[in-house]
Symmetry: C2
Subunit: 139 residues, 2 copies
C-alpha cells in the first residue's frame, strides 16, 4: 500500500474534467445510451437543460482515486456506499477527495474505512459516500 494508513489521513485528490467525448466513450463501454447522456438536442429540451454524465462515470473517478491511494485495485473485495447529489455536466471539473476514517485489522486483512466526496468547480457536491477497502496486512 502507498499511504500511511492512519485515521485522518487525506487521500490524494483526483481531478477530472468531464467532456462529452468521455461520456460517449462511457456509453459505448457500458452500453448505456440513454439520450440524457448523449443526445445534446434531446437533453437541452429537458428540465436538466443539457446532457449529464452517467453517475457511474463519476463513481469510476472515485474508484480510480481509491486504487491510486492504496496502490492496487480495491474493487474486487471492497464495499461502497454512495449518494448521488447533483449531476455532473460536460465542462465540469470534478475533484474527488477522501479521508481515512477508521482502520481495523482482522485475520491478516486491514479494513480501511474512508469518507469520499466528489465536488464540481462551484463546490457543489456531486457524490458523497464511504468506501471500505480490504488490504492484506502483509503488503
Amino acid at each position: 500500500m502507498k499511504l500511511p494508513i492512519l485515521e485522518g489521513t487525506a487521500l490524494p485528490e483526483l481531478v477530472r474534467r468531464v467532456t462529452q467525448p468521455d461520456i460517449h466513450k462511457y456509453a459505448e463501454a457500458s452500453g448505456d445510451y440513454n439520450p440524457i447522456h448523449i443526445d445534446e438536442q434531446f437533453a437541452a429540451a429537458t428540465p436538466l437543460g443539457g446532457t449529464i454524465a452517467h453517475g457511474m462515470l463519476v463513481l469510476a473517478y472515485m474508484s480510480e482515486m481509491l486504487s491510486a491511494a492504496f496502490g492496487e485495485p480495491w474493487d474486487s473485495t471492497g464495499r461502497l456506499s454512495i449518494r448521488f447529489r447533483s449531476p455532473a455536466r460536460p465542462g465540469d471539473t470534478l475533484t474527488v477527495s477522501g479521508q481515512v476514517e477508521s482502520v481495523a485489522e482482522e485475520n491478516a486483512i486491514v479494513c480501511v474505512t474512508c469518507s469520499l466526496s466528489c465536488c464540481n468547480q462551484a463546490g457543489e457536491v456531486v457524490v458523497s459516500g464511504e468506501a471500505r477497502v480490504r488490504i492484506p496486512a502483509s503488503l
Copy 2:
C-alpha cells in the same frame, strides 16, 4: 415509471457477457488502465491468473438494469450501497437481478429500496447490494 412498484416485485433481469474489448473500452472511458484489467500477460502471472473487469463496469450493468426498470436514469439522486464479492472475468456471463424491498412516499417523491445482485454463470455472487431510487410521484 415502467414497473408496478410494489414490495416483492422482481426487477427485469439484465444479462451481459464480459469481453476483453469491453474492458478495454471501459479503461479508455474511465482512464483506469491498471494492468490487471488490460494486460493479459501481466494478469496471468498474478494470483488472479488473468484479467478481471473493473468493478465499476459491473456496477454500470446494475445501473443500466435500474434505469431500465424505472424508465429513467436513477443515478442523479439515488443511493447505492454495494459489496464486491468476487471478480468478473472476460468470458463470464453476468446476470443482474433485483427486487423491490420497500416503497415510501415523501414530499411527492417515491423512494423505492431495491435489493440487487450480480451473479456469474456458475452462480457465484460478483456484487451484492442495495439501491434507493427516488422518483417523482407524478410520473
